[in-house]
Symmetry: C2
Subunit: 201 residues, 2 copies
DNA sequence: GTCTATAGTGTGATAGAC
DNA sequence: GTCTATCACACTATAGAC
């Protein structure tokens, strides 16, 4: 499935990332994974101790990729609220769901500390990072100082994660977009300045 | 696991409901399900055509229960915004996640129309019902008429669903509560009347 | 209507040739 | 370092006794 110049380990990890995203940990079998990677079983057990070990490597890679993509939206140029909008309106493969968030519903990921840690760390990081931007927005007068920073950050994360769940349940990305739009309206409506005049874009 | 006066079909459906909630469809095997129900394999294949058929009955029952519980919060006495608060602050087994929402991340539920339909229908119903209450709130002057009804309803559903995901990922119900609190603050902050005086109790 | 026995396939891991 | 062969066990379903 990948080019011949790609290493075996690389093919294994990428296949695991894809299948964990599509089917989760309990829904992914070594057989299907190896077929997708185009390698034999021996290679996997040479480089990893087993399914869980390979999954851990794949989850850690996906977590790092997600952090990088999120930080690209939340950092850099633009006012704090403009960066929050950029994060919320970033292009996403909505119907595939969140590759990290979906693992929170996988019983074996939640039960295994090694598999769960990168999932927890990703959410802890995202909540902290969004909290920083919310706080910047308050200091810039773009959001009311009365909003609790941590609660507001949690609401933002929840809308994105819940948007994915709704979209997959209804089979349409429209419910995702609606949830994001609703949140943006609420954030804009809470401007200290009041009215509808100071949209951040 | 259930009393002897419970019928075999009842025990099968309840066990399936529990396991689908805990482990999803791909993570649930007939063997474990039958052990929990305390019945033999023959009974299950007498009353149902197989795992998928039993799962369909269990999902439909869970969907009906969820609708009933949600409507109990959203209907009845109280102002529209008070009912929204009651819905958002209802007691929930947060760390178990949403028994219907979690199925949106199950690849075989999403792929099978019979399994997926009750999941989709539940979200469609909830979005519609929340939309009605949001509209009532606008007519009562509790929420600004500028808010889009469907978007606001989608945001409310998303915060609950995303709150579950965060809580399971972080291992703490605090992130769920924070997301709910953040949403309530945003809804209150968007009061047409403006300030902080008119909280709905 | 319930049970146990059995079947065929897949799972996750190991052994050992090359 | 990669492969195929093989293992013990679990999965989902069927058969047939009671």
């Amino acid at each position: 499935m990948y080019t011949m110049t790609t290493t075996t380990v690389e093919r294994l990890v990428r296949s695991a990332q894809e299948l964990l995203w599509e089917r989760g940990y309990v829904g992914t079998s070594p057989k299907v994974l190896l077929e997708r990677a185009g390698v034999g079983q021996g290679s996997m057990y040479h480089h990893f101790t087993g399914k869980a070990d390979l999954a851990a490597a794949a989850i850690e890679r996906s977590a790092a990729e997600l952090r990088e993509a999120s930080d690209a939206s939340l950092s850099g140029q633009g006012s704090p609220v403009a960066r929050l909008r950029r994060y919320l309106l970033a292009r996403r493969e909505v119907l595939r769901g969140c590759r990290i968030g979906r693992l929170a519903y996988d019983p074996e990921v939640v039960a295994d500390h090694t598999l769960r840690a990168p999932v927890k760390d990703t959410f802890d990081w995202l909540l902290r990072r969004l909290g920083e931007v919310v706080e910047e927005a308050q200091q810039a007068g773009e959001l009311p100082a009365t909003l609790d920073v941590r609660s507001t950050a949690a609401t933002i994360v929840a809308v994105v994660q819940g948007g994915y769940v709704m979209a997959r349940a209804t089979g349409s990305s429209k419910s995702f977009s609606a949830a994001i739009d609703g949140l943006i309206s609420l954030l804009e409506g809470s401007h200290p300045g009041g009215g509808t005049s100071s949209g951040p874009a």
